[in-house]
């Protein structure tokens, strides 16, 4: 029983297994097919139904698994095969691959099938070096793997893609692989992959490019029978030779060129066209369809020629090569070119082959081309005909445009503008100018050559009316006359002149309508500063217009032009208005002239002259004045009136200044003129200074005089003391008789006793009288006087009168006289025997001492109770007027003054000998500061 049950279960399982999961068939049931170009391996095996299978693929030699996944096989019920497709990264030639399969369901996994092998090229039978893939064509940017199978027994060295080493992967014993990603377009001969082994070198070529990109296929007909198809080649495929793009049109191979636009001829028109462009990377299909009448593309007119050529028109004729054009409605364009100017005229008619060209210019050379298109269902213009040229005939010239420019009251120029080519209607041979004067003066006519642009005009009288006629001549015809009455001469300065500026490339002039412009107006312009040889231009404005635009392109920048408006009427020409203008204003070319700086007190007046008109180069709007610092300009002021040409800089201190004056126009200011000025004391101030000085001096002296007057007593005492009365001895000689003057009775000499050092003489002090002599001789000595004591004693009376030798005067009085400010006058007492002798003797003993009136030795013997003899004998003391003796008491009588000096005037102090007694030194040292301080020494 147990055995039976086991057997039933086993049978049941076997049946179930057979129903639900097939045990994998024998190995030969796996069939491997491969596509080497795409590296694809097709794995096929027999199966009863689709399902899941485990597929394992590995490189046979190294048993290296490259794929091991569960896949859902595609089942073909017709042949009962399951199929799975695998694509290898590397070419299948590189090495052998083994494949095995097993079935799988959720509950059971089948047994692996025996492996099936697809052989690579690395089997021993292929012993030479090989590289795969060969001549592969890929898209730009794609990746490609290459393998190198080295020769049997050889060693791999390296693989290079376009001379660049690549890292290799070993696939089998002899096979090595590399992968190149993102490849760029190859060169025409393809990129090379080179494999080097120890003994050999081989490689492969790969072509990297693009699929075709052609577009815009159109077909049309030229002869109304055949077709001509065109298309444009797109991006360069970068593939050449056998890999380049091939074309078929409606299934027929067509050749191509290297042009961007391809054109092929097809013998018969077809209503639809299909162009296929193909290369190894892909193909593109272009379609076009149309009826023949909608695609007429006429050929170029042939045998084009000009017939019946006149001055103003011509007839063009041409032919068509196809009879089918005879009834074809055509529209034709005629392009006429003359003097680089083209004109296009259209004509239409069935089978059009002749047109008339009107409104041509006489004596003009024209170049003509013609093209046509289908008038109905216009498709495109046909080809241009070959160009022909012809010349129209001559005709009468146009009337020349004339003007008369008066340079003075009775002289001017007749000007005319040369006729242009289109106005000449032929070759101009000259201009005929006729001046018609007053009837009694008759007229004159001259013919000028064609190069002449003017004729000189001479008027006998400015008031007489004269008319000028000008006509042009070409080689066959005369023009009509151009007539103009001679205008009056209008100087540039007589009328108010307006400024006009350039706007939009010209001067816009406008004016009010004038009764003098019934025949129109003329605007004349000329360089304002030009002399006689001026370039005059003009513009005629028709009647009714009151504005004109004068183009500025031909005018010179920075040059002032005068625009004159004349009215034309039957009465002649009359100036209506004038303007000045610049085509372009510039900064002045020159600085102001004659810049000067003049000082007025503390001000400086700057004056300058106007810039010449030719140098202004713009309207001078004013002046800028600057003070020049070391390296910069300090703006002082802006003078906005160009007619003001002076400026005063005020309140400047005494220094040096530099001023710069710059004129300015709308374009800016010029470089500037500079002037220097050195601001010094001005003359008025100098005079005032002198006057003040003089006044001050006068006042000072007056003050001094007043003080002196007020203090005259003091002055007299100080500088002009009375000469003490000499005490005359009784034996006054007769020689003194002539002096009748007697000393004042109150004159006396008071002898002051002093302390004397040994060897020093005593001094005799003489009391002085008042200046006015009010004092008497009996008055006590004025001890309260302001005078220094020394001044009181410098006239000393010596008691012992003696003879004074005249020679002593030379050493005393003479020396005193030699003093510039000492004037000691002696009256009849100059010759004193005492002084003479004393001087003679003293000359050896007291040399060098100032002794105007020294005491003689004899004087020392006179009884002077207060004087010590040693002092006197020493001659060291100061002894003025020593010729006078000290007399007795009776010498005080008035008569005793006879023979004494009447005056002593000396401003030079009598300086005692330094070797005299100390007391005198002391007196001397104290006197001078006391004098200066005005104090009296007591």
């Amino acid at each position: 029983m147990y055995i039976w049950l086991s057997w039933v279960m086993l049978v049941t399982l076997q049946v179930r297994k057979g129903l639900c999961l097939e045990d994998f068939p024998l190995s030969q049931a796996i069939k491997l097919e491969k596509d080497l170009d795409s590296h694809t391996l097709y794995i096929k095996w027999r199966c009863a139904h689709p399902g899941l299978y485990d597929v394992e693929i590995y490189r046979t030699e190294f048993m290296e698994s490259v794929f091991n996944e569960t896949v859902e096989a595609r089942w073909d019920k017709n042949n009962g095969l399951c199929q799975w497709t695998w694509t290898s990264q590397f070419p299948l030639e590189c090495t052998s691959h083994s494949v095995r399969i097993r079935s799988r369901d959720p509950l059971h996994v089948g047994e692996w099938s025996p492996s099936s092998i697809t052989e690579g090229k690395d089997i021993p039978n292929n012993s030479k070096i090989q590289v795969y893939p060969q001549d592969k064509v890929v898209l730009v940017g794609s990746s490609t793997s290459f393998c190198c199978i080295v020769g049997e027994g050889d060693d791999f060295v390296k693989m290079m893609y376009e001379n660049r080493n690549e890292r290799e992967l070993r696939l089998s014993r002899r096979s090595y692989a590399i992968t190149r990603t993102n490849q760029s377009a190859s060169r025409p001969s393809g990129n090379n992959v080179v494999c080097s082994s120890r003994e050999a070198m081989y490689g492969a070529t790969i072509f990297v490019g693009y699929p075709p990109g052609d577009y815009d296929l159109t077909c049309d007909t030229r002869d109304l029978e055949s077709a001509e198809c065109q298309w444009k080649v797109g991006r360069d495929t970068r593939l050449y030779g056998r890999r380049k793009t091939r074309y078929t049109l409606n299934g027929r191979n067509v050749s191509s060129s290297r042009k961007q636009i391809q054109t092929i001829q097809v013998g018969k028109w077809e209503s639809s066209w299909i162009l296929v462009a193909e290369n190894p990377l892909g193909n593109v299909e272009l379609r076009d369809s149309a009826q023949l009448t909608d695609r007429v593309h006429p050929v170029a007119p042939g045998d084009l020629k000009a017939g019946n050529v006149n001055a103003w028109n011509v007839t063009l004729e041409w032919t068509w090569p196809f009879p089918t054009y005879k009834d074809l409605p055509l529209i034709c364009q005629v392009q006429i070119t003359a003097n680089a100017h083209s004109d296009m005229r259209n004509f239409s008619r069935p089978g059009l082959s002749q047109v008339s060209l009107l409104d041509l210019q006489p004596y003009e050379t024209y170049r003509v081309i013609v093209r046509c298109g289908s008038q109905n269902n216009f498709w495109k213009w046909g080809d241009w005909s070959p160009q022909i040229s012809f010349q129209t005939k001559m005709d009468r010239p146009e009337v020349p445009d004339i003007w008369i420019w008066m340079k003075s009251a009775n002289a001017g120029f007749v000007l005319w503008k040369p006729l242009s080519r289109s106005e000449s209607h032929g070759v101009i041979t000259g201009y005929e100018v006729t001046q018609e004067r007053a009837p009694e003066d008759g007229q004159w006519t001259y013919v000028y050559p064609m190069s002449q642009r003017n004729a000189t005009l001479i008027l006998q009288d400015n008031s007489s009316q004269s008319v000028v006629y000008v006509r042009a001549k070409n080689s066959e015809f005369h023009s009509n006359y151009s007539r103009l009455a001679v205008p009056k001469y209008w100087p540039d300065t007589e009328d108010p002149v307006y400024e006009v500026a350039v706007r939009d490339g010209g001067f816009d002039l406008s004016w009010p309508a004038s009764a003098n412009g019934t025949l129109g107006y003329v605007v004349e312009w000329v360089n304002t500063a030009c002399g006689l040889d001026c370039t005059v231009d003009w513009l005629k404005v028709p009647d009714g217009n009151t504005s004109a635009k004068i183009p500025s392109r031909d005018l010179i920048a920075g040059v002032r032009y005068t625009f004159s408006l004349f009215g034309l009427s039957d009465e002649g020409c009359e100036l209506l208005q004038r303007w000045h203008g610049y085509s372009k204003e510039m900064v002045p070319a020159q600085s102001v002239l004659n810049l000067e700086a003049n000082q007025y007190k503390s001000n400086v007046q700057l004056t300058w002259g106007k810039i010449p008109c030719t140098s202004q180069r713009g309207f001078v709007r004013g002046y800028n004045i600057y003070l020049v610092h070391i390296s910069s300009l300090r703006f002082l002021t802006n003078i906005t009136d160009p007619n003001v040409m002076s400026y005063t800089v005020k309140k400047l201190s005494l220094s040096s200044y530099k001023f710069t004056v710059k004129a300015y126009t709308d374009a800016g200011e010029d470089g500037g003129a500079t002037v220097s000025v050195n601001l010094g004391p001005y003359s008025d101030f100098l005079i005032v200074e002198i006057l003040v000085s003089l006044g001050s001096m006068s006042l000072f002296f007056a003050l001094i005089a007043g003080v002196c007057y007020k203090k005259r007593n003091w002055v007299k005492k100080a500088f002009y003391p009375d000469i003490p009365e000499p005490k005359l001895p009784d034996e006054w000689t007769a020689t003194q008789a002539p002096l009748e003057v007697k000393p004042s009775p109150h004159s006396m000499v008071q002898i002051m006793e002093r302390q004397w050092d040994s060897g020093k003489g005593g001094l005799c002090t003489v009391p002085e009288n008042d200046e006015d002599g009010s004092g008497t001789g009996n008055e006590p000595m004025d001890t309260d006087s302001d005078e220094p004591p020394l001044l009181q004693y410098y006239n000393q009376v010596v008691s012992n009168s003696s003879e004074v030798h005249p020679g002593s005067d030379s050493s005393s009085s003479t020396s005193s006289l030699a003093s510039a400010n000492t004037d000691v006058t002696y009256t009849g007492i100059q010759i004193s025997g005492c002084c003479y002798n004393a001087a003679t003797e003293e000359s050896a003993e007291c040399p060098g001492s100032y002794r105007p009136q020294m005491l003689s030795e004899g004087c020392q013997e006179e009884p002077q109770a207060d004087l010590e003899s040693p002092g006197l004998a020493s001659f060291g003391g100061y002894r003025p007027q020593c010729s006078w003796k000290v007399d007795s008491a009776e010498a005080l009588s008035f008569d005793s003054s006879v023979g004494s000096p009447t005056s002593v005037n000396s401003t030079q102090f009598l300086i005692p000998d330094v070797s005299t007694e100390d007391s005198r030194n002391t007196s001397t040292s104290k006197w001078f500061p006391s004098f200066l301080s005005g104090k009296t020494m007591k």
């Binding site: 090379n192 080179v194 070198m201 081989y202 050449y240």
Partner: protein
Amino acid sequence: MEGPSDAGVPGRSAAAKALDLARLLHGECARLLDLFRERESFPADHDPEGGRLVSLGRWSDDMSAAEQVWHHRCALRKCLGLLELLIAREEEEEMGGGDEGEYEAVRRAVRERLGHLLFSTAALLDDGDDVGDLSPQHDCAEGRDEVEGSGSFAMKLWMYKVLLELIHWTGSTSKVLCELHSEREAKQEQTDL
């Protein structure tokens, strides 16, 4: 058409002129190979393997200089055939992209100058009495014009070998022309004496 320069030094012998031409051609062939290698990015340190494409049918070191020249001329004639085949294949494949660059210019110059060298050597041998019974129709050299293997790279290798052959045979021809020139000069000197 560029031809050999006859405006050289007056009195120069035909052998000397042919020698100059061969040397010039040899240099141009080397230049052509450089341009080819540059165009194809071929490594300069590895020449393709294989034997000669052009080989002499009968060769002995005992041959006179004139006979050697005659044999070399045969080889050069084969080389010219290979070069023209090379040009045809390159143009068919548009390997230059359809434009003529320096490579194409040098290639054309080599072909023309090689023709002149063949002409010069033929005239040189006709003038001499030391060639013996060798006739131009004699099958003196062999050339392999088939490409070993398939594919563009195999063809490029064949072209590479053709250019190497040109360099080899123009250089070898220069040597034998030099010997011939020396021999004839020596003979001329003896005659003059």
